[in-house]
Subunit: 201 residues, 2 copies
Amino acid sequence: MTNTEPKRRGRRAGGADTKTALLDAAREVFVERGYEGATVRSIAAKAGVDAAMVNHWFGSKENLFAQAVLELPFDPVVLVARLLDGPPEETGDRIVRTFIAVWDATGGGPFAALVRSVTSHEGVATVLREFFLHNVFGKLAEHLGEDAVDLRATLCATQIIGMGMVRYVLRFEPLASVDVDTLAAAVAPNLQRYLTGDLTP
Amino acid sequence: MTNTEPKRRGRRAGGADTKTALLDAAREVFVERGYEGATVRSIAAKAGVDAAMVNHWFGSKENLFAQAVLELPFDPVVLVARLLDGPPEETGDRIVRTFIAVWDATGGGPFAALVRSVTSHEGVATVLREFFLHNVFGKLAEHLGEDAVDLRATLCATQIIGMGMVRYVLRFEPLASVDVDTLAAAVAPNLQRYLTGDLTP
């Protein structure tokens, strides 16, 4: 279990700078080399810090990826806890609002970069699978006590990834500009059905 | 209005070869240069035929794109007519089955190439917008007599594009391998809601 808040190992001058430098370096190196090619060592080297700082600030390469490329301001464990915090039947609504808030804040640039790197680097699909399926949507479906957890998780991925593609990469109007309330009203019930609805033929 | 069946202008030896050569050339040129850079002239030159053959066999650059890159075996007008042919409440089901049949037949390779060219060439987003929104989903929503046609069309695009990304580009299991009946049972009601359901907050 990783954690975004580093354990304090005594006083560190310029700690926040180190964290920012690692995020900037990771963003570049992940997009340039894909997930597998982007070693912790190469990211630390680009940031000009010791490789141990990655573990210190992010706990894992996976969490560094989540924060640097998906720009999620918290690690997957915290994300799932937040998404589960409320009425189960409103989980879809919390998912849409959380992802849109995070991605809107950055104009979707990192999402577009991610899609570019997905199509050119096999390894990025692997980490996205790990992130979306095992760490987020799979955990949600599991907690909500449903069957067919893996299918439900992949269906949620189709909707969230498709929404990101249309809003930030393709920029189809009106979806690219609608406010989050309109978007949540439209998309959340569909996500909710993928999580807890009847999917049998 | 374009048509996939060419008007016969007398007997043409090797006509089918010309058509195939144009499809192969178009696939390469669209992916290499994006939609705008891929002129009819450059595609014809690559295929070693006269530029008039594009109009003769495909009617328009847009239809050539639909057939060469999306690998749709019919032009958008025919596609919409097929999707509308049946009970309105089963339109979502027909959409899923039609796109999956077409894309499964080619292993999704062209879809992956399309996504690659979308992120590197602005013009491809434009033709995809034209294709998905105006020619297909917008027409469907319009025919089904709904309000908010443009929002509905973009929402359909999020689901179809997301499904294509997860099945053919990211290849997340089990969604990448489930049979079309399972996929249609899961996804069709969501598409149907985007087309004809209540989307208001």
